[in-house]
Point group: D2
Chain length 329, copies 4
């Protein structure tokens, strides 16, 4: 259940405040020199967000804790052996005392309650597996997939296109500052485009490219929805408006017909909820069901969407590479 | 690739205008008497849509071709044996001549082009596997899953909540008539609610309940997007507005936190594009890339969303039952 | 659980005395014309065994019931579409009355008891899924895999090399006649050789070629063991005797080193137990645990190994094709 | 491909002479305190073999390099969280210079050649993934599975029953000394028995308990064959001799009928080839295909079967636990 993909397979492990987070990448071809520059750039994007939002996006932890990868296997002189690539990133910024106040209560909007219900036990510090900390391992694996796709001319780019109701960068920045000042958080939308993808990728029926991308993107913390091409916004449009005449000059389909890429750019959106951790006072219950008033301390992300683009790209890259590997026979 | 699920597994087969469509259901517990009433009702809903849209929703084929199930295996005196349940539904309404005009060209908005690119060959009549005809097999399997869930107190209900920009039934009906009269088609939204689901269903990280539902729903023909809880509409809201205080009295989360059900109703939406088959003249290309003008004949669905609720429920039922089976150990 | 393979996937269905047995082949490339000659030949081999044992090997049912394949999907003018190939073979020779005497008791050496324990219900006629009847569907799928491999220069051939303690055909035939006359049955060994397989097939660690072949072969009814290369017979030999010097002039490894093919022929053996159905009087219990004396009527196979070579080849072909598809990226 | 199991899943990583070997255990229930005693005992058995063969079985490396487990995730105060359990064991005894002589040639009986053919690159020191060093990670995961099974009353015990042609301990020890003195190696057989397994475990058709066990056991380094119950030795016996009369008083079936456990002890054998590393002079080729004479130095296992029982038990435990988890719904 912690493994993603069929042929290019990524297994994730690690709690936010445990020893380390990390993963095992299986099914990566041999003979590839890992692009450490792309990897470092994506890790930094995940930590701080993209320009012009880096000042607003960086979490305190991201700034304090550099993500240093320790490779455990699968490499010889920096070249992949075709065997599993295991890696870990130690959790250095884990002050257990920070969580003393919330250890016995369920933070609203967080997964404390559902993990407790599912397992009867939970990592009491930092959200455990449910923390966005886990996505750092996805970016390591996804960046490797992205690198392999780049060599095949397939380019993936995601960016924040909306925060709250705003779509203009300068207005977004102003909104972020205002929300932060109010001790609150706000939702956002990330848009992603895949170019260079040949026609024919995606499996009919269940493993449609669209379905697999939705699965990949909805697995990211805080993601509440996915649409592609005309998506939800096209609900009021007519077939005569949305069908792309052929040969393709428009791309209302979002690059996918019948679940299979048609050679046009693949375009989709993902919406992220506001960070559930806010400074404002909230009401909740403790482990015994008693009502408590909660005020979370520390600096939290104002908008988790800001740091999501690198993760969206990573999940997209792994999805597409896996589908490519599945179809090549 | 034509199999859905890990433990409760459904394998689908069949082309729209081939001998039959059907499937194999594997992993169904032994000792269950199939609820033929629920099955027939869902098949009829898939064929004609739900009230009050049945007059607008029924396809010509749906009306002419009753879906008669032939069970091939896995049953003894109507009781499941625990072995694979294979079934088929013959395609009786397959007039090949209907497709003479479109056999050598790519219908806009359809998967003709992408199948041809992927396989170098395609079923030339009726869209083959890409036809919505295939969903009849999903409804058979999904209804069985739904029946098993009902016994556990889990109820799934989907309905059309929007067509075009309209959300009121009488206005929707008026819009549908107008669109049909114009030889055009229109998009729609289906909403689904799962009640009675206990807390703890869904696997953290990749197999989140939300991600698995998105995968299931996006695999339905014509689906362009999925969101749950506050979804896309919540993008402009604050964390202080969207966090559900505990104990739960609101359900902005849509019943899922950290990918795991929290015991509240699970609510999600799916958006469907307008039927790509329209009576209006369109431009496209033929197999040789030559431009052609196309006018499709016959009666087509005005809005595919109308017939989608039974399919959405079926995919949802299979997803949830499979996750329940995966967690029970 | 009734699906075999990862990329080239075969799903089997059907009870021995139900409507039909059949299967769905998923992941078969498009554009292949099915070799009906190879298919018919293999079905006949499965029904009657190979020369010179056909007179001894054919079951009564095999002779009475020709295996006629009905293709349900995935084909257009005899050419594969790349979509799932579904097929069925009707069970015509199913006289339910034959089983009146054994319906409420557990036949020794059969799976009646274990199915009942597992499912709390079982197909009371003819062994249901546990009958060797099910293997007819495997031969359909396996022959298609075999055909694809043949085009790549990979040849699979299995034959009976031992029955009881005998290894010479004329002595085997004499033994079979004697055993049959005594109303008894006898075990046998099938040997299989794969030639033309390039080096590099098989995945290290768990999906070793040897492990996958063992899994495939042990899934055949009545198979009690598998070994390859020097196998069990090499236990008393020294490393200095068994290591193949390089470049390879001997093949004691059986064509596999570290779970990966080395370019030499792959050789393995499978042992089959005597047919559990014998005419001699046996003691058993009925559904209520009461002791009963049982004498099975009808003509039974004297040695199930005789009809196994086509099934062994089929399972081998699916295994190897699937591994080839998994590695091609 | 480096993942074993469907629900209880173990992913293995690490090269023999890389940083570490280790694994990720996914699907382990929450709330289990790891039995460190069982774990340490099994690791020691894997390193040195069982009594009375420990003096003959221990490899030099095993004696020098204690296997110290570092847990990376999935535990809180020694209790499982239900999340992935990642662990590593550092490779401390990795003198690269030992392999200077063999880095550019293919050791007979080893996987050097097949890895090179498959990947075009290989770990040049110590056999990389193909080394038996990898099995240490299996024993960690398998011991956890074994511990869970023990609580359910299921006991797994494997032991060496034959070395060369000898079956008596004192004669085996004498043989081992003689073979070692000759700089040679010898094969062996490990027998395993599973008691306490209820009837009904194993899936009909492809995931037969026997097939899954064969797959598990053949994945162990050096294993050349598997049989259960009467196995290969029963080939010359009659059906009237091998059928177990009911209620069971004999167990010629080896506890499995139709691929499903029947409540009797499950018994199987695995045969292991002689260690391919021998001190005697051998001929082989180098990377360029030139013939070379090779004499391996260092102390090698005389008989790899001696250290196999803990690994056989571990693979058996994971297989059975996974099948139990798959069936519980």
């Amino acid at each position: 259940m912690n493994t993603f993909g069929q042929i290019f397979r990524f297994t994730s492990f690690g709690e936010s405040h445990g020893v380390a987070v990390g993963g095992v990448i299986d099914g990566c071809p041999a003979g590839i020199r890992i692009d450490t520059g792309l990897l470092a750039a994506n890790l930094r994007r995940r930590a701080c967000g993209d320009e012009p939002y880096t000042a607003c996006g960086a979490s305190a932890r991201a700034l304090r804790e550099p993500d240093r990868i320790e490779w455990l296997s699968g490499l010889q002189n920096g070249i992949t052996l075709g065997t599993p690539l295991a890696f870990l990133i130690r959790n250095t910024d884990t002050c257990s005392a920070d969580y003393d106040a919330v250890r016995h209560l369920y933070r609203p909007g967080h997964a404390d309650y559902t993990y407790q219900q599912k397992y009867g036990i939970r990592a009491v510090d930092g959200g455990g597996r449910a923390s966005a900390r886990e996505t750092v391992a996805r970016v390591v694996a996804g960046s490797l997939a992205q690198q392999i796709l780049l060599r095949r001319g397939i380019h993936i780019a995601a960016c924040v296109t909306q925060v709250g109701a705003e779509t203009e960068p300068e207005r977004i920045i102003a909104l972020l500052k205002q929300v932060a000042a109010e001790g609150d958080s706000i939702g956002g939308i990330v848009q992603c485009e895949v170019t260079g993808l040949p026609a024919g990728v995606g499996e009919p029926i269940f493993d449609k490219l669209s379905a697999r991308l939705a699965y990949a993107v909805l697995s990211i913390n805080g993601c509440k929805g996915f649409d592609y091409g005309s998506g939800f916004l096209g609900v009021a449009q007519r077939g005569s408006e949305l069908n792309d005449a052929m040969p393709f000059q428009t791309n209302r389909a979002g690059g996918i017909l019948g679940g299979i890429s048609n050679g046009q750019p693949v375009t989709f959106r993902a919406v992220f909820k506001p960070t559930p951790s806010i400074s404002r006072e909230q009401t909740t219950v403790d482990d015994n069901g008693n009502p408590v008033t909660l005020r979370l301390h520390g600096r939290h992300d104002t908008c988790i969407a800001l740091r999501a683009p690198a993760v969206v790209e990573s999940m997209t890259a792994m999805t597409i590479l896996d589908l490519l590997f599945q179809m090549s026979r």
